[in-house]
Symmetry: C2
Subunit: 233 residues, 2 copies
């Protein structure tokens, strides 16, 4: 049954994968704005209407690419985390994750733009993207959690967060990063957004004429300062 039924299903999977692959190629070549279903179909030797059997609309194709991209950065971040020993200095582990995100982004700028640039289709990010979108921040949180177990997690720099922020951070920690104190969780969320801002500036060329020569050093240095800022020793 799986064999016979699998024939069509496998074909479907293969065609779906081929479409995404070609779409990614064209994405890398011309950007999301100019990604055209017809061009993808043409390149694949199929007619454009056939493509709608696999993706109900252009935006759905884009959403699929977004999900894949989230998974890819997330995997890169997690791989970087497992590549560095558990008992390494937390700041090193933190830096490794950040560098992995940056490296992936620089290697796949258009895909990175897809997930952390302007939401292309309508305006709000589709719901399917919230799950895979958490892998990077969870990797960052994992560093803090491990540091805490080793007694290498201190207080975040600066004033403690005001009540409401602390309360919400504690809720968030309870759900996604058990054990982490509220202030650390708040600092962590902020660091996540800051990391994305930092990477985005580099990928989207906003640092052109500002940081030109020592980009990797600048990034590493900044990200290390962030580690200390969160409370990692």
């Amino acid at each position: 049954m799986t064999a016979i039924q699998g024939a069509r299903e496998r074909a479907r999977r293969e065609v779906t994968a081929a479409i995404k692959e070609e779409a990614r190629r064209r994405l890398a070549a011309e950007g999301a704005a100019k990604l055209s279903l017809r061009a993808v179909a043409r390149e694949l030797g199929m007619v454009s209407s056939a493509l709608y059997r696999y993706f109900p609309s252009r935006d759905d194709l884009l959403t699929a690419l977004i999900v894949d991209a989230y998974d890819a950065v997330g995997e890169a971040a997690e791989a970087a985390l497992t590549a560095v020993p558990d008992d390494a200095p937390p700041a090193d582990r933190w830096t490794a994750v950040c560098l992995a995100v940056r490296a992936w982004a620089l290697a796949h700028p258009h895909e990175y733009a897809l997930i952390h640039g302007t939401p292309v289709p309508g305006y709000a990010a589709p719901r399917d993207t919230v799950g895979p979108g958490t892998r990077v921040p969870l990797a960052l949180a994992a560093v803090a959690q491990r540091a805490r177990l080793s007694g290498l997690l201190g207080e975040p720099a600066g004033d403690p967060p005001p009540g409401p922020v602390r309360a919400e951070a504690e809720e968030l920690a309870a759900e996604h990063a058990p054990g982490l104190p509220g202030p650390v969780m708040a600092a962590l969320v902020a660091s996540w957004a800051q990391l994305i801002g930092l990477v985005g500036f580099e990928v989207f060329g906003q640092f052109n004429g500002v940081v030109v020569a020592a980009r990797t050093e600048f990034f590493t240095h900044t990200v290390r300062r962030m580690a200390g800022d969160v409370g990692l020793r």
Copy 2:
């Protein structure tokens, strides 16, 4: 001469302004991706080809909107800076600038997306946008400069930057923010990118389900920590 010649020139200015105005309206309504020259022309009661007398292409229209948006955020930041007294605590002045940027972004999400989202046209941001794009970071730098004159500028948190970063930061400071030490300048650039990341997360809905209730408090708190991080007392 100015009167007669001015007739056409003024008409041109007015039509140009009307086009941009209508384009901004449609931008706010449907986003940059769906901004159509024909729709703008239609709404203005003119034929689409006539619009090309004013903007050589759709991308040029977008670029014009980008420049305007940069100026608008920049002005908001500068206005916020002049609204708070010169001798106020530097951290307060810093926070005021950051809050102004955030407020503008939340009020004009699509325009903000235009300047800090994916570069829509090709991939690199047009050259005309580098000038107006510096007003926000310069406002941040101004806070640090004023703090230095009052003796309220300390060392940035964390390790000092490595040689190349410090050198490049000093060059940058010499050109754009005379008097600022290299480490502060490096921290400043990082903070700028981090601020944009933070605002972008909120505007683009990436904080949905993460930071939900105490957004303003969270932002203010984070931005205050950043001020201390840069060295502002």
